[in-house]
């Protein structure tokens, strides 16, 4: 083998090519395999600059997949309710991390095509979640669900302002990462 390796230039090129093919295959398999296809009804579609996908260029989630990323819960008052409410959902940072899009910004689009830009919104420092439950009850379209972005306004008085209220989008359907 050593003789062959040493004597033949063609052999060396062959090995390099083999290595390249291996790397390529590994990369393809990782991207394709990391995210399962949604089993239930699709509640969230993530598109754009993400590393993991499960439907073409997009990553589709059903409620179960989102819940499997890990749930966070906090109580906060909002301008839209008279009393403070308990919201349950997944942190946006957790979702972005799971898609290999840590720290990136995005547009959020609602069921009725309402669209907000998260540019300049710090969802890491102020841990915003994509909630599916309010006060223990699952959200429906009629209760501004099935998904809804919410910030812990009560914990961080400095974000209890119009700019952060505007990005608390309800009836969330889609994220466009950029």
């Amino acid at each position: 083998m050593l003789q062959i390796l040493k004597s033949s230039k063609k052999n060396r090129i062959f090995f390099v090519n083999l290595w390249l093919v291996f790397v390529f295959l590994t990369g393809w398999c990782t991207s394709g395999l990391a995210l399962d296809a949604p089993q239930g009804e699709v509640v969230l579609k993530v598109s754009g600059d993400i590393e993991l996908t499960n439907n073409g260029d997009e990553a589709w989630f059903d409620l179960k997949m989102l819940q499997s990323l890990g749930a966070t819960e906090f109580e906060t008052a909002t301008p839209w309710a008279d009393e403070p409410e308990v919201f349950t959902g997944v942190r946006i940072t957790t979702l972005m991390d799971s898609l290999g899009a840590s720290g990136k910004s995005f547009h959020a689009v609602a069921l009725d095509k309402y669209k907000v830009d998260f540019a300049g919104i710090d969802y890491t420092k102020y841990p915003a979640i994509i909630a599916w439950q309010v006060n223990g009850e699952s959200l429906t379209v009629r209760t501004l669900g099935p998904l809804r972005v919410i910030f812990p306004y009560s914990d961080y008085p400095e974000i209890d302002i119009a700019r952060y209220h505007n990005v608390a989008i309800w009836q969330l359907l889609q994220l466009e990462v950029h």
């Binding site: 301008p79 839209w80 069921l111 009725d112 095509k113 379209v141 009629r142 209760t143 501004l144 009836q171």
Partner: protein, 632 residues
Amino acid sequence: MKYTSLIVCSIVAALLCVASILFLAKEISIASQRVQTVGSIRLVNFSFKTGRNYDELAHALIDYRDCRITPESLSPSTSNKKYIEKFDVIWSSFKVAYRNIYRHWSGTGYWLDESRATAAQELRDRGLAFVDKYEADMNPEGSVSCGRINEMLTDIYAQKDQLNEFAQSFFELDNRAAQEQQSGINKLFTTIIVLGLSFLMMAAIAISLVYKALKLASALLEKSQQAEQQANNALVDLRQSKDENTAQKRFFAAVSHDLRQPLHALGLYIGSLQRHVQTDEAAHILNCANLSAEAVTELIDSLLDLSRLDTGLTDTDQFRFSLGNLLRKLHARFLPVAAEKGLEFIVEADDSQVFTDEQLLDRMLQNLVANAIEYTGSGSVTLTGKRSGDEVLVTVTDTGLGIPAELHEAVFDEFYRVDGHSHNRDSGLGLGLSIVKRLGDLLKLSLTLESREREGTTITISLPAVENQPLSEDSIQTAPMQDTLENLNVLVIDDELEVRESTTLILQSRGCIVQAVESISAAKKLCESAGIADASGDAKFEPDVIVSDYRLARGENGLNAINVVRTLFEKNIPALLITGDTTINFKTDTEFKTDTEFKTPEGLAGFEVLYKPVDASQLLQQIIQMAGRSAV
């Protein structure tokens, strides 16, 4: 330097002002934009969003309806689910979100005024009515008839139209409000700009004013300094000229004094000689000598009068007196002179009284009458004194040569005489009229001269008239005089031998006992020895009158001498001071007062003064007066 910094400060202030105005303007502009947009965007957004949601519901319903007609194109259940979802979005808009939005607006104090709130409420009510009406049809398991779908579509389009209408009305309302705000802000903006500009203008004006004021002030300062300098120069000039004038007068006085000294002696010698003359011829010659001496004395007197008038040493002693008396005295005095020349001398006077210095007026009239007699070859000299209205006019009229009109002013100058008469034997130096003029000025009397050549001259003195009043006895000089000087002790102090001797001779000729000394120490010695002599039984010498020259040798003066003698005898001995120095006025100059302050039990002692040259009769008369007074 000061106003440079002032200007810099003003500029900085102005720049600051401009900067703050710009900043304010920018802030207002931003605020106005925000006010303009923030209100309408929310409602218009809501309207558009809801309108779009209605559209989507409509599409979903049409899809569903079409699916029922052609079931193969899409599964009915999917279509059903889709329109239910769209309906749910609208439902949530009105049932949940709208309530929240409304609350949010009012809660944050946005622009929802009454009319807008009403409109928004109406919008919501219609939306709620829509969702309530069709809620029952949104059953995932059920189906909706074609007719029901068409009905729903009609309602949806109606809703959409209404939404648009509302959106538009909100937009208009909002726009109007925004416009009002905008116009208000514009006004504010304009005001600020105007204010800023006016402030800048004011600042500029203030700066220029300050600058001008400072410039003016410095110019004024410069001018005042110049003026001060000029005044100083003028003052220096004046002082110099005054000094020159004074020096001239002092010189004049000194000359007069030196001339008087020998004349004084001459007069006294001639006076004493008269008793020793035996022959008529000698008596005639002596008489002539005496006349000449008197003429010279008269001239020197005139000169001294002038000098005294110029040096301001002449005092005026004004009182009320009868003019007639004065004129009659003059008549008595000059009648012989006039008669000698073959002239008539007429005096006419009423009973007017005048208030002035009698002696000085007398001097004026003496000069005028003497002058008139001198310049009149034939005819008469008339002296009148009459009241005329508010004035008393004293005129001296002659029938002489007259004075040409062009010379009327000049005759009052010193040493001026009308041409052609310089050969006249008795003509003086031409001092008479200038003395008259000066005395007139001193007494504030006006002098007028009328004259025609070869016809005569009239000189008028006008005095202010006074009411006639009875005159006191004092003014009539009837002081008793001790005509005899027998055994009167007289102490003569003079440093010049000639004067001592002549004075002694004169006084002895009248029976005086005279002791003459040359100095204070000699006087002292004499008086002391007199005291000792008295003790030893000899005839004592205690002076009844002291006659002293003012200027003695070795810096001593007559006043000190008088003082010393008076002190020795502790008695207020009458004293006569004789001096040739006309610049000294012993009665008013305070420096001499201290010298004479010898206090006797009767009070402060006085003394009499005679100016040289003093002739024998003058001296004797004065001494008689003094002795008489002391005797009283």
